[in-house]
């Protein structure tokens, strides 16, 4: 018994310590170059869940039946983070996909990985006209003059509010708050009976956006666009305004902490617990459809007396993987071109709330008709159109974004515990700097 228990204990000890190394991504059936029908097969890894995934599968199906040379196989790989981890494990092997969908902050990471082929190669070969794409979107994915990946699903943050609650509180439902002081004022009126006025998810993306809308930079070197970023600068006056807003409202009791989970936040809005919150435009269609009250959508609020700069493109883009063979890459390029046609983009836009990469889509009857039904979708498009192309709205380019976001989230959470906003921000900046330094040593 003595020996047995010793053995067991050691066994648990050893296995536990090694388990983080034995994790393997689930291998996909190896992609054969040709299917039986003689079509070139293109494996497409994506992270579109639920309703978004259904629409994506429909689009892929339409493409596969529209021609007879290419067969695209969409494979859902979990969240953006999970998909990237799996990609990481199989990159450079036969199990790697040909097309990989990666979120916006993974851009630098993908470029640095050396496993990808810039789509610029195909744009040049094909003399493809990129001027038909939305300029603000292309802007994000252009690094040193090269378009690295194909923008596909782009979204921006919007203020979503409960129109019925506005009416009950004596507010004009057609005049949502545009500035911080209006936001505070509205939130005060909306807070009653255990319900709250406003909320922001504890997620780095929202902070980045509220910084950019004032023209604030995230990192130095023009947000890492001019050269390799070496220091985080988001503890600026602009960043501080955002943190102060959150803490002031929380102290007033008009701000509700929804945590880090998107679903919890949306559930809180739908149940009336919060009357206003920030969300991604990609969620607009679903929220409008499922909320039991009238939903309004508006621009991101800005501090008083600050000029509105616009928003950063969020969402994801499609990357071509270098190790796939030429025929597959050509086939994948055909699929990418198909995705950016106005017809496909129109369908994608009205069914999800993501933007059309190709603005010609907005002139199609399908969009016009749906905009009448869902005027909220139009707000998101206008906000992007009015965005000024500056390094701030172009978005930061760093490879340690996941780490930096975790630090920002911790800083946001500490606000609810009464930590001084300046102190919280400074700490997040110091920790991001340390991560940047580590990344340079690799």
């Amino acid at each position: 018994m003595k020996k047995l228990s010793l053995l067991f204990s050691l066994l648990f000890l050893l296995v536990g310590c090694s388990s983080e190394k034995t994790e393997q991504a689930s291998a996909q059936p190896s992609s054969e170059d040709k299917t039986q029908k003689g079509k070139t097969e293109v494996v497409f890894w994506h992270a579109m869940e639920g309703d978004l995934g259904k629409v994506l599968n429909e689009i892929v199906h339409d493409f596969n039946t529209s021609q007879s040379t290419v067969e695209v196989k969409p494979v859902f790989q979990g969240t953006y983070e999970e998909a990237l981890t799996k990609f990481n494990a199989v990159a450079g092997t036969k199990d790697a996909p040909t097309i990989m969908q990666t979120f916006e902050v993974g851009t630098k990471y993908m470029i640095d990985s050396g496993k990808i082929e810039p789509v610029q190669t195909f744009i040049d070969q094909d003399h493809y006209d990129v001027s038909q794409w939305e300029k603000n979107i292309v802007n994000y994915y252009t690094v040193n003059g090269t378009i690295y990946s194909m923008p596909f699903n782009s979204s921006t943050p919007v203020l979503i509010y409960n129109k019925d609650a506005f009416k009950k509180a004596g507010l004009d439902p057609e005049k949502p708050p545009m500035t911080y002081s209006e936001l505070k004022e509205a939130a005060r009126k909306l807070t009653k009976n255990g319900n709250y006025g406003f909320s922001i998810l504890n997620y780095g993306w929202f902070f980045e956006q509220m910084l950019a809308v004032q023209g604030g930079l995230y990192v130095n070197e023009e947000n890492g666009r001019k050269g390799e970023a070496t220091e985080a600068v988001f503890n600026s006056e602009e960043g501080l305004r955002v943190f102060k807003l959150i803490q002031d409202m929380y102290k007033e009791g008009t701000f509700y902490n929804v945590g880090q989970n998107w679903d919890d936040m949306r559930a809180a809005f739908q149940s009336g617990k919060i009357a206003m919150y920030l969300d991604s435009s990609a969620g607009v269609r679903t929220i409008v459809d499922s909320a039991p009250f009238e939903v309004g959508v508006s621009y991101l609020p800005i501090p008083d007396g600050v000029e509105r700069q616009g928003v950063i493109i969020g969402g994801a883009s499609l990357w071509m993987i270098k190790d796939a063979d030429e025929a597959q890459k050509k086939a994948a390029w055909e699929f990418m071109k198909y995705l950016t046609t106005p017809e496909v983009q129109a369908k994608w836009h009205v069914k999800t709330g993501y933007f059309a990469i190709n603005p010609a889509a907005y002139d199609l009857p399908l969009v016009k008709e749906q905009w009448k039904k869902y005027p909220q979708l139009k707000v998101t498009v206008n906000q992007l159109k009015e965005t000024k192309a500056t390094p701030a709205t172009q978005g930061a380019l760093i490879s340690v974004f996941p780490q930096s976001r975790q630090r920002v989230v911790s800083a946001m959470e500490s606000l609810y515990q009464g930590v001084d906003p300046k102190e919280a921000l400074d700490r997040a900046v110091a920790e991001t700097n340390r991560e940047l330094e580590m990344a340079r040593k690799r």
Binding site: S9, C17, S18, A268, S414, Y416
Partner: protein, 292 residues
Amino acid sequence: MFRSVKQNFEGMLYIFPSFLLFAIFVFYPMVRTGYLSVHMTDFQGNPTNFIGLEHFRYLLEDVNFQQSVKATLLFVLYTVPPTIIIALSLALLANEKVKGIQLFRTLFSSTLGMSVAASSVIWMFMYNPAIGVINRIIAALGGEERQWLLNPDTALIAAAVATVWMNIGFAFLILLGGLQNIDSSLYENAKIAGVSYMYQLRRITIPLLSPTLFFVTTVSLIHAFQTFGQIDILTKGGPMNATTVIVYSIYREAFINYNFGFASAQAVVLFFIVLLVTIVQFAVVERKVHYQ
């Protein structure tokens, strides 16, 4: 002479399959973890350059890691003693020969059949501030509703309560097995001598159960140090890293931040902490264990 060589060979042959498995899934990853912990790594986890003990040096001064160590120790404290005490009480109850006791034995051990993921999701809903049953009960009793998982003061305890519930099944089953192994003639003697229940518990049950208790404690300790699933699902290490236990921190460094070298260094530190605790267990606690 020949016989003993042959015997030795035969013995090795028997051990070989398990040794092979251990080598592939345990020894190699362990060595590799140690190797990576003194290197910088690229995004694929391949070592790029040797940096010696720099990861460890940084760990010593990193407040986030100190916070992780603290959270882990607190978590162990919040989970192991309550699990053992509750499981032992239930096992003592379920060891009585009463009609229908099988039903209770099944019920008490049923959490063993629940995966960590499934039970975490159930607890997540129970803790939900808006729709969760816990807040509803508190509200019905006139209390104030709380955000259990969003408040750094309560998040770790909330996760610990869920974990205790999950772990009771396993501890209960092992302890019940231990109780049933105790020779019933001892209890008959005690009955004849007319001793009280508490005396019988202290002098017969606990000493004879001590090897089992020791085993359960050791395994529970090691398990608690390696907690991951419920943290990932319930809190993602938040709020303010209050629930970032070491294994979650390792996971985040390796598989979200792709910092495999730094993650490996943390894994090595965890290994030594658990090793130390286990050695202390065997050196100090085991002396009190009574083997038949």
